[in-house]
């Protein structure tokens, strides 16, 4: 299983931090899980901040999940549906049966 960790929406994140409003009603939503081909899945992960680290946790039951077979993405999505992808796993239908746990973190750290 591979993963890419990119932040193509970094500019939008920066503008959010500065309160630059590109459109009415813009706001940054929580980190959400996303599946390719199915769009935004109804399973919104639990988002917890510990200090300066934000962690999104999401569980999927491969036996009961009707969206099985999809790739799993963890993304930040603005209210205008701008995708600020942070993680993209190429995970597809698990080779085992049971509950899969996805836990993705963003750590905010100081530069030098």
């Amino acid at each position: 299983m591979a993963v890419t960790q990119t932040v193509p929406g970094l500019s939008e994140i920066i503008q959010r931090i500065g309160g630059i409003v590109p459109g009415s009603g813009y706001s940054l939503e929580s980190i959400k899980a996303y599946t390719a081909g199915w769009g935004l899945i109804p399973y919104i992960p639990t988002v917890v901040r510990t200090g300066t680290t934000v962690t999104a946790t999401y569980s999927e039951n491969s036996q009961t999940n009707e969206y099985r077979g999809s790739f799993i993405y963890f993304q930040i999505i603005s209210s205008e549906n701008t995708i600020l992808t942070l993680f993209e796993t190429d995970y597809s239908y698990p080779s085992f049966e049971g509950t899969c746990l996805y836990q993705m973190s963003i750590a905010f750290v100081r530069g030098t």
Partner: protein
């Protein structure tokens, strides 16, 4: 050193867990000078509130992605004191909430800012603050049914000030001033011409001792020498400033930039005031950046 405070780092992370709707948008000046601390700084030491220079929302808030400022948030605010001068030693960047959170703080040494950090009434200082963002992929592991990944968003603060000095004008009724500070009732005792630069000795008189204190605040020991090409240079802890001398022929002030005031200012009580002497040295060379 500019520090990104713990409160600021926490605030930014809160934006991603939907715990706040505040933004990083305000700039504040201060006169305190205790060293910056990453974890304990939650406010400026001594915020300036006078002369219209209190905490204010930045007039420019923009996203930059240039060679000089890649992936950065830029905040700019110009402060122009009205009715009195301010002395800056610290600058903060804060959030725009009802109780602003200190995000960034920088303390300047006494000699780091132009004009010793003093911004006279009518002049202005421009503050440019930057938060640069980058990211590094962290780790990703998958064991059985557990997928754990992480990424780090790296935030680097920086801060630049520009005290506008070219416009330092002389107070009304004065013929000589240095960075807008009057050399009251000055007469030129001597002018020494050297290659590429001059030295002036002024004898002044005032009935307001604060005139002397104000000049003393921008004075420091000055080392004067000649370069290998025979041109005069000066060096000092303080940055150079602008000496202005009224020219009765052209009826304008002649500006002499790259000047320094020597800290030896003899004062002699006389009548209801004081005579005082001021020596100003001009340098042929610019200050180092």
């Amino acid at each position: 050193m500019v520090v990104l405070t713990e409160g600021g780092l926490t605030l930014i992370s809160q934006m991603f867990s939907n715990e706040t709707d505040e933004a990083v948008a305000k700039i504040q000046l201060g006169s305190g000078n205790t060293t910056e601390e990453l974890t304990s700084n939650s406010a400026l030491d001594s915020p300036i509130t006078d002369y219209g220079c209190g905490i204010a929302t930045a007039t420019t808030i923009e996203y930059l992605n240039t060679a000089e400022h890649p992936q950065s948030l830029h905040l700019r605010k110009i402060f122009s004191p009205v009715g009195g001068e301010i002395t800056i030693r610290e600058i903060g960047v804060l959030s725009d909430g009802a109780s602003p959170i200190l995000v960034m703080r920088k303390v300047f040494s006494e000699f780091e800012l132009e004009n010793n950090g003093v911004v006279p009434a009518g002049e202005s200082i421009t503050i440019d603050a930057y938060l640069a963002f980058s990211y590094t992929p962290g780790s990703y592991t998958c064991q059985q049914s557990v997928n754990i990944g992480s990424v780090s968003l790296i935030i680097t603060p920086s801060l630049i000030t520009d005290l506008y000095s070219a416009g330092f004008s002389c107070p009304p009724g004065t013929f000589v001033c240095f960075n807008g500070r009057a050399l009251r009732n000055a007469e030129i005792v001597s002018v020494t011409e050297r290659r590429g630069a001059r030295a002036w000795e002024f004898r002044c008189y005032t009935q307001d001792y604060s005139d002397i204190s104000k000049i003393n605040a921008v004075a420091a020991p000055v080392e004067v020498g000649l370069s290998i090409t025979g041109r005069q240079y000066t060096s000092s802890m303080l940055k150079t400033g602008t000496l202005r001398i009224w020219n009765p022929l052209t009826r304008v002030y002649d500006p002499y930039t790259r000047c320094r005031v020597d800290n030896d200012i003899p004062v002699e009580p006389f009548g209801t005031g004081w005579f005082y002497s001021v020596t100003v040295y001009e340098s042929y060379y610019e200050d180092d950046a």
